[in-house]
Symmetry: D2
Subunit: 145 residues, 4 copies
């Protein structure tokens, strides 16, 4: 892709991720080095104490950072690795992950992400922070979201 990808294009990529479809993830913002993913808190996404499972939070942070890195034209983004720190248990109506590119280099982009639980009244409560490295690979078919 040589053109700057837009929200509709990126939403098609998300729809092509069966795991994101399984979880019900939505891409609600995309562009200028930033991306926002949301998913509703459902019973099947929880752990044994009734909160959203840490693995779901890690998934949405990783995916949001990969989308943020994909807002510029160029090769397809593949997550090389990331770190996440959990700061509060996550509950509420939905999870929102806001990622942004800190530095977009030739071979790697470094991103940060905040994951918040959003209450029924729209109030956000920070539940995790992440930092990750995204690599760029040629369009050939051997990668990871």
């Amino acid at each position: 892709m040589n053109d700057t990808p837009d929200l509709a294009f990126a939403q098609k990529i998300l729809a092509a991720q069966p795991f994101s479809v399984l979880l019900g993830t939505r891409l609600t913002a995309f562009g200028a080095g930033a991306a926002t993913l949301e998913l509703d808190d459902r019973a099947e996404l929880r752990q044994q104490y009734g909160y959203v499972h840490g693995g779901v939070i890690a998934y949405v942070a990783e995916n949001a950072m990969a989308f943020a890195a994909g807002t510029e034209p160029g090769d397809r983004p593949l997550t090389a690795g990331f770190t996440i720190d959990y700061v509060r248990p996550a509950g509420g109506a939905l999870l929102r992950a806001r990622a942004r590119v800190v530095r977009h280099g030739r071979a790697l982009a470094v991103c940060r992400c905040d994951v918040a639980s959003v209450g029924g009244d729209g109030t956000e409560t920070l539940c995790a922070v992440a930092q990750g490295t995204i690599s760029f690979a040629p369009p050939a078919g051997s990668g990871r979201a």
Copy 2:
């Protein structure tokens, strides 16, 4: 819990995680500072290139480290944070995450985890490595797996 938890006890905890049930995760080894989780590679766990989604790999690594930290008697383990680096795309018959405690302190345990894809013939191929910190909280009900 003041007794050393055993495999059957830990399998009940896993079964009480709706998200792990959704993904079909199995706990196949548990004890002496180590735990192994497995889940079958299914179409709905993949990303847009046909490999297991990086979020699934992060989930299984995080969960395996939390279980490894829970092999000793004491307060319930809650993941404080972790890092994962992806080294190869994951495919094959199943994913296997082997976690072990590097150091179990009073308030925190540090763990490492290797995630491999396992082929139909049982061959393992390393696909990700992780390192995490697990905290311990009183049995009260406000935590994360």
Copy 3:
């Protein structure tokens, strides 16, 4: 310490770190969940290509996050762990690390830090970003800055 520590108090702690004295680190801001450390770029802090050694950058990020976590009254902060991603080679007149607390919990604080090289004209160029977890330990004498 039960009072809110101030800049002068924190500067005494920094002066009590022989390694920070060796490197010439200065604490230039401290309070309200944030801390700034600076150190001059000197020949002996470099690696083989003439840039500031990645180990120096890691040191200043780690130390800045520990100081940020120490801005609230309470037990002494000890770094449990951190992650750093390098985004540009560091040169210039000095290094500046700005850390702030993202979440201050009872047992752990999570912090972020930006490390910039500062040119002779005061221009900042981001060279690394970090995220870390700081634990709190009783005043007894067995810790780490």
Copy 4:
């Protein structure tokens, strides 16, 4: 460099790092995807409680992983980022960092490192574990150790 680098070659690189000379770091093993660095515990490497400063431990882990990644012929290794978790305060006669490559890809290598304090009798006590990503850049002169 197209030949496999050897210990003597790598020791020259270490000697060309002024910061490593300042700290007195020695490269004691190098080859086959692994490297070991050591440095003596000296008063000027400590923090305010008398232990080795966490920044020194981070430095030696980062540098050991970059050397491990440089054991194969090819472009020069530059650390993209790393994570370190501290598990015990570090004291004793010297620090020893053992790093090894987990996966050496075309553009990135992923490494792990154990840092131990070594007592006067040679006993090792694990004090930190690290995991890092090393990128490879052309021989041109704009990098980081």
